[in-house]
């Protein structure tokens, strides 16, 4: 293979990768998961914590209580806490244990939740 050809191929591939990264991380967002509303009106969702929050976008209705059950499936100290700064809520998540966080969002909007360092993030969409 001519060096110039291989260079061209590498550069094209690189440019494509850069475009892919920009699209994947900044322009394509996964759809949210709606919290299941129980008979009592309590909106519940299970969020598995492993390298991230799964699901990381939860859709709930405003004015009804929300219970988010966090289940941490890893030991990395990074994710040992989850914070909801907008609701002044936080919880320590022991490994392999379900920890519920309860609150009632009153105003529609987008509220973030995250680990203490802010490396893992999720969103609560209140409609």
């Amino acid at each position: 293979m001519e060096p110039i050809v291989s260079k061209l191929i590498v550069d094209l591939l690189g440019a494509a990768a850069v475009a892919g990264i920009v699209w994947f991380f900044w322009f394509s967002k996964p759809k949210g998961v709606a919290a299941a509303a129980g008979a009592s009106g309590l909106q519940e969702a299970l969020i598995v914590v492993k390298g991230g929050y799964h699901p990381d976008v939860i859709v709930v209705k405003a004015g009804k209580p929300v219970r988010l059950n966090f289940l941490r499936r890893e030991t990395s100290a990074c994710s040992e806490m989850v914070l909801f700064p907008d609701f002044d809520k936080s919880a320590t998540l022991p490994t392999d244990e379900t920890v519920p966080i309860e609150f009632t969002p009153t105003k529609p909007g987008e509220y973030g939740f995250q680990c203490q360092m802010g490396m893992l993030r999720g969103k609560l969409l209140v409609e």
Binding site: W26, G52, T75
Partner: protein
Amino acid sequence: MPETEATAVLTDPVCGMEVDAGQARRLSYDGREVFFCSEQCEAKFRADPSRYLKAKPTRPPKHPLSATSGVRPDQKGVQRIQLSIVGMHCPKCPPAIEKALLETPGIASARVNPGTERATIDYDPAQIDLAGIAAVIKRGGFSMGVATERIGLKNLFCDSCVQVSEKALKRTPGVLDARVNPTAAEVTVDYVPSETSLDAIRAAIKSAGYDPAETGTDEPVDREQKQREQEYRSLMLKFWVSLAISVPVILFSYPPLFGLTGLVPPGSSVQRLVWAGMGVLTLPILLWAGSQFFVGAWGALRNHSANMQTLIAMGISAAWLYSTVVVLAPSVFPAGTAADVFYDVTAVVTALVLLGLALELRAKTRTNEALRKLIGLQAKTARVIRDGQEVEIPVEEVLVDEVIVVRPGEKIPVDGEVTEGSSAVDESMVTGESIPVEKHPGDEVIGATINGTGLLRFRATKVGKDTMLSQIIRMVREAQSSKAPIQRVVDSVAAYFVPAVLILAILGFMIWFTWGPPPAVVYALIVFVTVLIIACPCALGLATPTSLIVGVGKGAENGILIKNGQALETAQKLDAIVLDKTGTITVGKPSLTDVIASGEFSEEEVLSFAASVEQASEHPLATAIVEGARERSLSLKEPTDFNALPGRGVEATIAGHQVLLGNLKLMEERAVPLGDLSKQAETLAEEGKTPMYVALDGQPAGIVAVADTLKEDSVAAIRGLKSLGLEVVMITGDNRHTAEAIGRKVGIDRVLAEVLPEDKAHQVQMLQLEGKMVVMVGDGINDAPALAQADIGMAIGTGTDVAIEASDITLVRGSLRSVATAIELSKATMRNIRQNLFGAFIYNSLGLPIAAGVLYPFFGILLSPIIAAAAMAASSVTVVSNANRLRGWRPRATEGG
């Protein structure tokens, strides 16, 4: 309890169950009959009879089941509980629940607050229990906030014992249902968390004679600690294994360095074989030690995000994959370019990053020492008076209103009010005040403080999660997990940081591959991996929260409770401080300041007459005079014909003399010639004191004056506040004259006098309109609106929930010096955060270009990925260590004052 043997009720000594004499198994032992519910219990007894015969009387007979409610069982009649209601979403719901409840026999009143979603219910426990109330609420279509917990039972011997423990638990207030599973040896308890706690349920199980298993009930912090310890050990194990593998890998990666060139000649088949061996050796590093990076990276990718793990995972796998292609298919690369493998990068980078994570974890654990210390303060046992006897019981079982005895040197177990004895109590662990505080009957004591030399008896006022210590712990936890506004900057950067690093790495690869010196592919790969590895999003992410944790904890150690990160950040930007006079600068209650004698009377006589008259009055000024006389050990006489004269004063007869005590008006009305006494009274009034004339049988005897005295260290504290560059303003309802006199005394130039309580907030706002950041300091009760209006509201000398609610910062200690300390702490913490952020930003913005090779064209410097890994690991450890430096912070203003 020997009398039970004589009664008709038979009790199984092993499990404590009541048994029917006809059906029970019986055994003669030591000259008496013993009955058992089952074969198992009998066998247990036969194995060790003395244990059960002795153990029985120690079981507390009367109180055990009330352990959980905080209400004494002998307090019969209506009880009040608060329940949280779930599923209440319509405006009609609260009345519907209330109606359903009120129609139920045994419920005296029921109020439902839709805002808090709580029902307050007064009920008669004799007619309805909590389970009954729960059923009513459930029938109405709602449910109560109920928690379910499984607790292991260690000594469940027989199936029949099941009933006993279930019954015992169900009788516990707050417990709705209890189901024992004998095969699993555990009990499942449904309970109302607001009414009882897990600890209390465990206490109830214990007092029923069973042993609840320890598992799963540790303090969250302990558990966090244990898990961190485990994580640390696992990281270190991975590190040591990676390191061990790294040694041969490094030896054969740089044969010339170690004199191994002869062994593995370049380009030979031996070399290829050695390389292949290195590839196999490093495989476990990649797949086992480095697995957490791949797991984390994958988890993030699923969320369309990327983090540190993504970078490390890509870096170490790129190095390994390239090397493996070189070994397996060298023909892919043009001749001469496939000259090297990078298995050493995979091995050493993984080892270093793991070590960095482990060290960071270690350092992180230290950041929250303050909170752990607070939790450790909690007393374990309390000595209470029950049935006239001192009994030592677990602190969880102490009930409100019980009398507790604390011997010298012992820990005061819960909050309460002294009923007997006096002592100096060391409250430093809660308030930060190092000087012990004198306690007399009527004074409040705080749980977890240490009694000094005297014996104290006190009545418990707050137990369990309501104690001041529990509230402080809760508040510290909440504040530590809140966000400082400065974090927002980091947050917005964080979302772009890691993908940007990925892009930079790819661009670097492209540039080096296209224009770099030969072998281009090797340089390009080194640059690619180094950029990925050197980027440290962790340092950025850790910068704010770790300092915040240390700072908030440090505050709690000094009796400063900071509500959240916002309050901490605002407290360093303040321009003006408004001090409410009463209770902040002054003690907040009047005391005797001056006694002036006139004519042939002595000061003692004047005071003695005044105090004797005032004994009959309950006015705060009267109390101050009586206290003043007592302090000077004057003997007081009983007044007769006491008469209060509204707006004037009082009169009474003492030992045959008619005594008048009151203002100028009274003296003029009774035509008492005051002479130059009135001038002296005026001077006193100018100093902000309240003078009262004393007249004996129509003749002037002297003046007693009382005033709200300054707190001892107010002057020094105000000087300290000024030295912090704050404009100090005093606000008071006093008249201008008095207010200015006090202002001069304490060194305050700007005095807002004659301010009605409801106008205080307005005055704060006026200051804010001058463009100032204002902190308002008050007692948190009367001035809540002003505290809320200010940029920072500080409640001083209190730990009550009302004050904590109303203020941004609560100063447990009464001293004004804590205000300066709080501001200093805020400054120190924010400085620390800025250092961290600056360091992290600088590190990344210098490290990334260098890793990309910008220095190469000028100096020929290109970083090795191994150096990058060391730098990256060091940077996050540095951030946490810098935050830990705050732990050594000492308040400056409180030292000199």
